[in-house]
Every structure is written in C-alpha cells, then in structure tokens.
Symmetry: C2
Subunit: 343 residues, 2 copies
C-alpha cells in the first residue's frame, strides 16, 4: 500500500474562490503587472484562506527551471565526506543560496550507483546547475560535465584540463608558505606527505612546497604519498622514517595526515616541534586540538562553498563569472612555532 499524497489546493481553486480567471490568479502570485487592485486583493485573500502554495513541480515544468542546484561530491572512499571540510563547504553553499530560491540537492557519488545518478542528473535537467567537488584523477565525470549544457562549477581543479568555471584555494601558494616558514625557522631536512597522487590538490601542494624549498636552496629529503586520512598519514610517516631517520620538518597535504604522523613521530620518540616541526593543511577545528596544536595552512573553506554557489547562480543567470582563486595563509601554532626553537 502506497501513501496517497493528499491533494493540495491548486491555482484553479484559488481563482475560482476569488472569482477570477486562473490567468489573473497566476499573475498575482508571480506579482506580475496588469491586475486590478480589486482582483489582486481577492486573490490574495483566497490564497490565504486556502493556504495555497504553488506546486513547484508544475512551475518547473512550465518554466523549464527546476529551482534546485546540485552539490556533488565524487570520490571512491565512502567516508571522505565525513571530513569536516565538506560540512564547512556546505554551510558556505547554503548561505549563498539562502537569498535565492534555489534548493540544494546533495549527491554523494562515492559508489558506482552514485556516479550513475550523477551522470543521469547531468543529462536530465533535474537541477539548474551543478557544483562538482573532489574529482579524482581525470575522472570521466569531468568530461561529462563539459558536455552537459547545465552550468557546472568545479570546487578545486580536476587533474587535467581547465574548466570554464571553478573556485579553488591557492594550494600552491599555501604550500610555499609552509616551505618558507620551515626555512625561516632554520629547518634544513624537510620531508613531505602528499595526498593521493592523482588529485590536483595534492599535486599543487607538493609543487608549492618544493618550489618554496628550491627557492631557498633547501633540498626535499623525502616524499611519501598518503590518502588524506589519519591512518594514511601515520603509515606514510613510518615509511619516511624508515628511509630518512632524522628529518627536522614535516609538511603534510592535510591536517588529518598530520595528526596521524604526529602519532607515528611520538611512537618513534621524536619530539614535536623540538626534533621535527610539523605543518598541516586546512586549519579546521581538529588542528587546534592536536598535541601540540598544529601549525597549518589555512584555507577559507566556508568561503569556498559560498563562492562556488555564487558563481553557479551567476552562471545560471547567464553571466560568465571567471574562475576564482581564494587566498591561503599560515596559521602558526606550537607544532612549528615562529621563532627558531632551541634544539
């Protein structure tokens, strides 16, 4: 047995009750011109009395505008979304959507089925636009996104190609700040833990870090790939220590990995920051609660969400807002203090 959706008052009923044509009623509701004061008031009363709310589906069909945008998070790992990062993005997106009357559809495309849905969605006018995040490698979704005629805003760049609309944080610049900080505070044997190699964020952060060091003539002792998770960070740190027993600085492409690495360092009896200075990336709440508190590259995550949504709304309205790169900065805490530490 199916629940029978109860009927709600229709525009015709409003019109009838107000003693006007459906056309007039429609005009009043969309406060269009060409309606006499009298009729307008009659309709308004009827609307109130009947508790009428226009049926969005019917409106969508008639206007060819759905009134919704999608935020799609594509990724293989089921847990990825649990990262507070996304919560923060969503808050930003939601805030930017608030003044519009666009609904937010959330699509976690972590399974094959989820990806299918996303794909269908891109060709089916189920939304007026799409925000796409966390694309891995050169995900075919990227290409698909170009074929659709729905506006698509990327959150972060895909590995290859440059989409028409995207918002990204200055990952390269931020990583460079980390390198400069290490150099300035006298560290000379830095190592790094990257994210998955097929992600653009990871590549950009690695590149920025390397550049920053190179500019100061400091060689990068070693690099290992993590997967943006704590455990991945811990494991990568083990591998790093096996190959390079005495690093004096560690930069990780995410806070989560830094947290994992801290664990490993402790296990090996290495003190932070005395023996090894550590810098992470993101600066979400968790960075403040590590022991010691984590120095990290701050990324304006909420703004990222906000700007993505704004850009999408612009695109839907027919504008062509260019891409946007948001600034990053270094948040210094105890894990890599600003003054040279006593060794």
């Amino acid at each position: 047995m199916e629940s029978s959706p109860k009927r709600m008052p229709t525009l015709d009923e409003v019109a009838q009750r107000a003693g006007v044509s459906r056309t007039a009623a429609s005009r009043v509701i969309n406060n269009a011109p060409h309606v006499s004061r009298a009729k307008r008031e009659a309709v308004e009363r009827a609307v109130r009395e009947l508790g009428f709310v226009p049926n969005p589906t019917a409106q969508a069909l008639a206007t060819r505008r759905v009134g919704a945008v999608v935020l799609a998070v594509s990724s293989d790992e089921p847990g990825l979304f649990a990262d507070p990062f996304f919560a923060e993005v969503i808050v930003g997106v939601s805030a930017a959507l608030e003044p519009t009357d666009l609904e937010l559809v959330l699509l976690l495309a972590n399974t094959p089925r989820g990806r299918d849905r996303l794909e269908r969605l891109l060709r089916s006018r189920r939304a007026d636009g799409v925000m796409l995040m966390a694309l891995r490698g050169d995900d075919p979704l990227g290409r698909l996104a170009e074929q659709t005629d729905l506006p698509v805003v990327f959150g972060g760049l895909p590995l290859t190609g440059e989409p028409r609309w995207y918002v990204d944080a200055d990952n390269r610049g931020g990583a460079r700040l980390a390198a400069e900080h290490f150099v300035r505070t006298g560290r000379r044997r830095p190592v790094m833990i990257t994210g998955q190699l097929d992600t653009q964020v990871s590549a950009a952060r690695e590149r920025g870090f390397t550049e920053g060091l190179a500019l100061a003539g400091v060689p990068l002792l070693g690099v290992e790939a993590g997967d943006f998770t704590e455990d991945g960070g811990a494991a990568a740190m083990e591998r790093l220590l096996a190959a390079h027993p005495a690093p004096d600085a560690l930069f990780t492409a995410s806070d989560a990995m830094a947290i994992g690495a801290l664990r490993t360092l402790r296990t090996h009896g290495l003190r932070v920051p005395e023996d090894v200075a550590v810098i992470g990336f993101n600066d979400l709440a968790s960075a403040r609660h590590t022991a010691p508190p984590l120095t990290t590259v701050h990324q304006p995550v909420r703004s990222l969400g906000r700007e993505m949504a704004r850009m999408l709304v612009g695109a839907i309205e027919g504008n062509d807002p260019g891409p946007l790169i948001l600034p990053t900065r270094l948040t210094v805490r105890e894990s890599a203090p600003d003054l040279p530490t006593a060794d």
Copy 2:
C-alpha cells in the same frame, strides 16, 4: 540575459525515431510489461542514439511523486551544522537513499528565511518526505510537521509531544552509563555540563546522569548549562569551579563542551583524570585527539542517519514503521579510565 536551457530529447522523439507510439516508448523506459521484443529493442536503440533521459520534472508532475526527500536542520546558530555530527548523519542518510531513486535535498533552516522555506516546503509537495533534525524547544515547526500530509521523520525527539516517526539515540541510557562509570571508579563529587535547556537531548542526558547517580546514592554536586560548543563548555566549567572548587568527575552533554572544559580545568591546574575524570558524549573523531583522549558515550550517528532515511522511505511507501531508539555505549579512554585511578 538568461542562460537558455538547451532542449533535450523528449520521449516523443524517441518514439518517433523508433517508429512506435509514445505509450510503447514509455512502457519500455519504465520496463513495464506488454511490449513486444521487437519494439522494445527499437526503443532501446533510439534511447541510446538520442541519449534520452526522462525529464524528472515531467515524471514527477504526472506521477505525483517528486523523487526527493528533504533533510532539514533547524537551528538558530549558523555554525551548528559545521559540527561533524551532521556530516556523519548525512553519510548515513545518503547511504540509505542510495538504492532508492530518491534525491536528497538539504535544508539548513538557521535563518528566518530558511525557516520560511522549510515551512513552504512542508506545504508545497516539493519533496516526498522530510527528515527533521535539531528542533529547539517546542519549535512551531514541530506542529507544522504534524499538519502536513508529507511523512516526517524526526531525528531526536522534540521537547514536547511524541511524533509518529522518529529515530533517536538512547541518550538517557548513555548518560546513565557515564554515571555508573564514575561511581564504579570511585568518584563521589560529580558535576555536569548540560546543553541548552530547551533541547530534548540535553534534558535526556541530564536525566539519565542524575538517575544513574541517584541509584548509587551519589549526589550531583552541581550543574551548569552550556550550549554544545567548546567555548560554552569552557565557560560553564568556570562557573562550576567557582561554585564547587573540588569536583572529582565531570560529565558533559557533548564532546565539544568536554574539550572546552578540559581547557578550563588545565587553566585551573586540575589534572585529568587524576583530579577530575571527564566523560563526554558523541564519540566523534575529535574525542580521540584531546589531551588526554576523551572517555565518551558513543552514539551511532551514521546509523541514526541511515535509520531515519530508511524509516522515511518506509513511510513514503505507505508502511508505518514504529519509532526507533538506537543503543549507546561507553567508550573508555584516558580521561576517565576504567580502573580506579590512584589519588
């Protein structure tokens, strides 16, 4: 200038191309019976060639089923949603929705405008069902949710009244576990920090804790209200210490507040767990990273989301799944170890 939504192939075009009636085409697409093999194949080919995907809006209008459910988070604080708690709920909801073809609409109703939208949504058939979370006090939304004929599943109970469908964690039972743990490990001067007094979770956790203590004949030394945030927890702890200088155990209604309280305790030179044992509530990632790691009441957050979605899907399909209470358990870590600590 508005972006002109490009036209996509329609069912009629598919039918025409396949040389069959629209009805036949429709039948194939919804793989309904009564289509000859030949026709079926012809249609399938046409679909492939044209890249046809049915227009969900039109389907929705015709079937009176929107194909979407809403997850609404009502709250006054803008930041509340940034709590990893919700990310976890969403992962659960999303997983449960995966096998269905329901889309997830996310509504953060933290502003007046947001609440308006939620209200309209409840009367406008923009979705087939609603999940409602984090209702404060006796939010009028609760009543509204009862008037609508859309199925509504509550996540957590509202302060007053018992909705037809809800999923909740066993807050009372969990809090009781905390009390018992304190008693068992020899603590006799416990204090508590609650959440906002007008939330059901807070009330349930306070009640459970009090009951647990009462059963053992241990009096509750003091209670202060926080607001589920770190800073709120820190402030509440200050007030508690002002009134009761020497508690030996602290239970907080959330991990975030416990983290704040830890800060305050440290400031006052009190050691955890030696001087004061601390137990929080939630057991999300952050609890593992406090210093010392936090003993806390574990709540199956992802399951909560999953079960809410399942319940809603059931309700949409016309079943009447009863309410559901999910078990909680104590996760013991260093902030309140299991064996009596040496004083």
